[in-house]
């Protein structure tokens, strides 16, 4: 993904901290071939072999001039990074500037190294693929974009960016490491809501204050609305439609709790990682669904001292996600966090006596994530996607 970008000011780009020349297999083959040519030329006085050896030597020199000159003249800056959910693609934009007056830049790879300035790219919570910059003119600038897939919730430190290229002949991979500190918070995965909707409609919700046989969409008549394609046929108010001369459907008032608390049960503190992560994912998914239905969702994990009071809106939901993203099983409870009060509606997420993934949610949310509700494979916590 390449796009032109305006020039970057000196102060805007990341700071280069090191550069490295890495010999690769092709370079060894190249050196061996060049030596072979030299031996052949010297031994046989074959003039074309002298010429070929000269071409091989020139290849090295030209490669050094082109790649060295351009890589040292390259500057990079990273765009602000977002907060992806696990399973989402995080697109990181880079603005690159080629300060060389004569030489263009081709085939540059841009990789996030994480907290270490050397070694292979290692972002524990992401599947990484480098961004590629196909071309940047002399004294020009360009943009590139890397797409990382979030694999695990939590905070990842993005500190070093490696810009590398083996252009023009692939003999040596030249790389420059830039320091550009940033962090990215991976939010918990949110399971697709379609299946969740269906289950919510058909199952009951049990809360700590008792069991209520109700549906999230409710049964109480709320209003009549114009039929839109996709509305269920059973919702059509036929008599009213006949009177009005157009199809109308019945709308029912939601019976969801207006300000529910999602409570992560205490036993999760000692749960294996797999169950713990699934529970976090379930909490995030339920919160997303409830918020979509208009509820103000709160989060409480008393064993970790986490309490996010119910509040309407996306910002509040995002705060809940962030709390879930930062949640660790061995967190130390802090004082002063106010959890659900008496009489407030709660949805507790815990562990059932069953085995495997189905253990999660069985306390109170068995109906929310039924045993057949398989999380997408790529959303499973590491090591649990068996």
């Amino acid at each position: 993904m390449i796009a032109r970008a305006p020039e970057i000011a000196d102060a805007d780009h990341a700071t280069p901290v090191s550069r490295r020349y890495e010999l690769r297999w092709p370079s060894l083959v190249y050196i061996a071939t060049a030596l072979f040519l030299a031996v052949g030329a010297v031994n046989s006085q074959n003039n074309l072999l002298y010429w070929a050896f000269g071409a091989a030597v020139c290849g090295v020199v030209i490669s050094g001039i082109i790649s060295g000159g351009t890589m040292l003249a390259l500057r990079v800056s990273r765009d602000p990074v977002g907060t992806p959910h696990v399973g989402d693609t995080l697109s990181i934009g880079y603005a690159l500037q080629n300060r060389h007056r004569l030489l263009p830049v081709f085939a540059v790879l841009i990789e996030e190294l994480g907290a270490e300035a050397s070694g292979r790219p290692k972002l524990e919570r992401f599947d990484t693929k480098p961004a590629v910059l196909a071309h940047c003119s002399p004294r020009g600038s360009a943009r590139a974009q890397a797409n990382l897939i979030a694999r695990k919730r939590g905070t990842t430190e993005l500190r070093y960016i490696r810009v590398s290229s083996s252009f023009p002949f692939g003999l040596v991979r030249k790389s420059v490491v830039f320091e550009s500190p940033a962090s990215v918070l991976s939010l918990p995965a949110v399971v697709g809501t379609r299946g969740l909707d269906r289950r919510v409609r058909t199952r009951s919700v049990r809360t700590s204050s008792g069991t209520r046989a109700t549906s999230p969409e409710g049964v109480e008549f709320y209003s009549i609305a114009e039929y839109t394609p996709g509305d269920a046929l059973v919702k059509i108010a036929w008599k009213r439609s006949a009177a009005l001369g157009q199809l109308v459907v019945r709308r029912t008032a939601s019976s969801l709790p207006a300000r529910p608390w999602l409570v992560l049960a205490d036993e999760l503190a000692d749960a294996p990682e797999r169950e713990f992560e699934t529970a976090v994912c379930a909490a995030a998914s339920i919160a997303a669904h409830l918020a979509k239905q208009g509820a103000a969702v709160g989060l409480a994990a008393p064993w970790a001292g986490v309490a996010v009071p119910p509040a309407p809106g996306q910002r509040s939901l995002h705060r809940l996600y962030k709390a879930l993203a930062s949640l660790e099983p061995d967190a130390t409870p802090s004082r002063g966090q106010r959890g659900p009060g008496a009489g407030e509606e709660t949805i507790t997420i815990g562990i059932s006596g069953r085995t495997g993934r189905e253990r999660v949610n069985a306390l109170a949310t068995e109906s929310w994530l039924a045993p057949d509700a398989q999380l997408p494979r790529e959303l499973m916590p590491e090591g649990a996607a068996s």
Partner: protein, 769 residues
């Protein structure tokens, strides 16, 4: 450049590599089969809609089979040769064409193509190979650069596409052109300046031995065997003939005979007649000659000479080979250090094998000789008795009868006892003209086999009367000997094809020839080298060619139109320039072209020292050189490691980015200009607020950071502050990013909010401070 464009270039490089090798090997079979194989791989690889139509086990099986076949041929059959290596590479290319799954496979195809090009250079340095290099290099450079794009895109899981970007295409073209020109310039510089003769022939042999089929020349004559005469028009060497003043004396229609060896002994078997060297006189032990006129006939350099020949062999070969000279050579000059030997009887000169890993693709030498027969014989002592015939010479009755009849018909006494020595020349002339015209003999390349038990020469003289030059030469030599005239058969080439554009002769395989040398007198003024008491003086041999010249030329030189003839002359002139100036470029040429003797002399000194060390089995110098080289290499590695570690340490302590105050100021101005260029005070205010926010939220005393890092810090810091302030920080960062990197200015509402946000952030920062 797209993936498809890269593939097209890769295919072109592969095809050109095969063409280059076919030109080097001069093989239509290689050309046809190679291109057919590549076309098959290319078409089949695409026709199935997949880049790799063959499963991996099949591909591995094919590669194993190809490798096994090559090894089998190398071990059991012909040994490891360049030809075998190139054929192996070609087969691998075809297999890899069917197995292009990733960009890496394309790189392997390119690498194999380069190897094939190197194999072509090892095979031959003809002008076809040279022109192919001119074409291959730019396309190869373009393909390799394209590969880097494809490989990078593959690593990022994207599709390479710069074709639609006009600027990128222009830059790519420039890079290809600049790289190609630089490579040509640099390699030409290397070609010109690299010291020649340093380490020459330091390794073993690694080429196909040039057999008789390659040159058309043989140093033996075996009458009765077939297929010995080559009709190939492939050039063997180029010849320039000069007089004492350095003026060319070649001309259209003027013919020169270049002898490679002289055969003195005729052996008759049941149905074969074989001319061989005189066995009792062994060649001298080999000598090394270089850059000075070596005496062949043990004459002083002041002795007169008449003709200088400069000969450039097209294919030097690595085995023992004859050197061709006009008449008997007196002095010889080698452009390269050459081990050579002379036959003390015939003065035939031979290059002796010294072992070499590679072919001597270029080899040139000059010979000065005296055509005494043409120049007259000022000091001939004709009173001496005739020299005796070689031992074992037993004239056959049929030959004696025919020779005597010829001489009697010419009015010359056939009896050697009574005939004056001065009549030997006329007698030889009579025999020559008998064979050429009067005897009714016919030239043919397909002589009939001799009757069982009958000597082929006798059969030729008495029955068939048809044969090629070897039959005519053998017949004349035997007839001369039959009447007591010392005669021998000379084999070599006859130079007839004169190029008036360059003033040189092109000598081809089909010009291989045999003729007769007759001893007409003894020069008593000169004592010969390796003289024996029985033969103390120089012998004067005269050349006679009994082969009917018209028949010979009609068979070997096809008539062509004037236009074709001119075109051919021009092509040969170009080829001669190529061979003389490129293929035959030597240390002497280096000195002549550059006027620099330093390189050559240094190379000679180094070579001499190395030779002395090696010959004395003193490895101290080698070990010392290896130790010094190892130390230097290790030092470079250690320096690289230490510098990288040092840089890392300095970087860790924050010194890497240390800059002068002036530079800092410049940076500050540059940063300001990035925003002030937008002419919006709200942005500058927001920026300053962000800076204050960062300064307040991070450790005091740390150095300034680029804007992007600061904005990221704002975002990171926003997480730990009250909600309303956090939202303000995020909005502010978003606006600053959009303005800085996308030049997207906020609208009026956003500007108002931006000012409010900046104020809030600044207030928080000041309060915190």
């Amino acid at each position: 450049m797209t993936g498809r464009a890269f593939e097209r270039r890769m295919l072109l490089v592969t095809v050109l590599a095969i063409v280059m090798y076919a030109l080097a090997a001069q093989s239509a079979v290689v050309f046809t089969l190679g291109l057919a194989g590549i076309a098959f791989g290319w078409v089949v690889g695409r026709s199935r809609g997949s880049r790799a139509p063959l499963p991996m086990p099949v591909v591995l099986g094919l590669i194993t089979a190809v490798t096994s076949l090559a090894l089998l041929r190398a071990v059991v059959g012909e040994g490891f040769t360049v030809g075998l290596f190139c054929e192996f590479i070609m087969m691998l290319l075809v297999v890899k064409m069917l197995d292009r799954r990733r960009a890496r496979d394309d790189a392997q195809v390119l690498t194999l193509s380069v190897f094939l090009c190197i194999g072509a250079i090892l095979t031959s340095n003809n002008i076809g190979v040279g022109l192919s290099i001119l074409v291959v290099v730019p396309i190869l450079v373009s393909a390799v650069l394209g590969y880097q794009l494809v490989a990078a895109a593959e690593a990022a899981g994207q599709t390479p596409e710069i074709r639609r970007q006009k600027l990128a295409r222009r830059d790519a073209r420039r890079i290809v052109v600049v790289t190609t020109v630089a490579m040509f310039a640099g390699s030409t510089l290397m070609f010109l300046l690299f010291p020649r003769e340093l380490g020459e022939r330091a390794f073993g042999s690694w080429r196909e031995v040039a057999g008789r089929s390659q040159t058309g020349y043989d140093d033996e004559i075996d009458l009765g065997s077939t297929g010995r005469i080559s009709e190939s028009a492939t050039p063997v060497f180029d010849l320039q003939v000069l007089d004492r003043d350095g003026n060319p004396i070649g001309a259209p229609g003027r013919v020169f005979y270049l002898r490679g060896t002289a055969l003195t002994v005729y052996q008759q078997t049941r149905s074969d007649g074989r001319w061989k060297w005189q066995t009792e006189r062994q060649p001298d032990s080999p000598r090394r000659g270089k850059e000075r006129w070596e005496t062949v006939a043990a004459l002083s350099e002041s002795d007169p000479w008449e003709v200088e020949q400069r000969i450039t062999m097209r294919d030097g070969g690595s085995n023992s080979a004859a050197l061709f000279t006009i008449n008997e050579p007196m002095f010889i000059w080698f452009d390269q250090t050459t081990h050579w030997a002379r036959n003390t009887s015939t003065y035939a000169i031979t290059r002796t094998p010294s072992g070499g890993l590679f072919t001597d693709s270029n080899f040139s030498y000059a010979v000065r000789s005296l055509d005494r027969a043409a120049a007259g014989f000022p000091d001939i002592d004709q009173s001496e008795t005739r020299m005796p015939l070689p031992d074992g010479t037993e004239p056959q009755p049929e030959v004696v009868a025919i020779a005597e009849r010829v001489l009697i018909d010419a009015g010359i006494d056939p009896d050697p006892e009574t005939r004056p020595v001065g009549d030997d020349s006329a007698a030889s002339r009579a025999i020559e003209s008998f064979l050429q015209a009067e005897g009714g003999f016919r030239y043919t390349l397909s002589p009939l086999p001799a009757r069982p038990g009958v000597d082929p020469t006798v059969d030729f003289l008495t029955v068939t009367k048809a044969g090629h030059c070897e039959y005519f030469a053998s017949a004349m030599a035997l007839m001369c000997q039959a009447v007591g005239i010392p005669a021998r058969v000379a084999t070599g080439y006859v130079a007839t094809e004169f190029n008036d554009l360059t003033g040189h002769y092109v000598v081809r395989r089909s010009n291989a020839h045999a003729w007769v040398e007759v001893l007409v007198a003894v020069d008593t003024s000169t004592r010969r080298a390796g003289a024996t008491p029985s033969r103390p003086h120089a012998e004067l041999w005269r050349t006679y060619d009994p082969t009917p010249r018209n028949d010979f030329q009609n068979l070997h030189q096809k008539p062509s139109s004037w236009l074709m003839s001119r075109l051919k002359s021009m092509a040969e002139a170009i080829e001669f320039a190529w061979v003389s100036n490129v293929v035959g470029f030597s240390s002497n040429s280096q000195e002549r072209a550059l006027g620099v003797s330093m390189i050559a002399s240094w190379a000679r000194q180094a070579e001499s020292r190395m030779s002395t060390r090696f010959s004395a089995r003193d490895n101290t110098a080698v070990l010392r050189a290896a130790a010094v080289g190892g130390l230097v290499f290790g030092g470079v590695l250690a320096f690289g490691w230490a510098s990288s570690v040092l840089a890392r340490r300095i970087s860790a302590h924050g010194l890497f980015g240390w800059r002068l105050p002036a530079w800092l100021m410049f940076r500050r101005r540059a940063r300001g200009s990035a925003l002030s260029g937008l002419r919006m005070p709200e942005l500058q205010m927001a920026y300053d607020a962000a800076i204050e926010f960062v300064q307040a939220s991070k450790t005091p005393g740390t150095r300034a950071e680029p804007l992007a890092i600061r904005l990221n810090r704002v975002l990171a810091g926003a997480a730990g502050i009250p909600d309303d302030l956090s939202g303000a920080a995020r909005r502010l960062v978003r606006v600053l990013y959009a303005a800085t990197y996308a030049r997207a200015l906020p609208d009026a509402d956003d500007r108002r909010r931006l000012v409010d946000d900046a104020k809030a952030l600044r207030a928080w920062a000041r309060a915190r401070r």
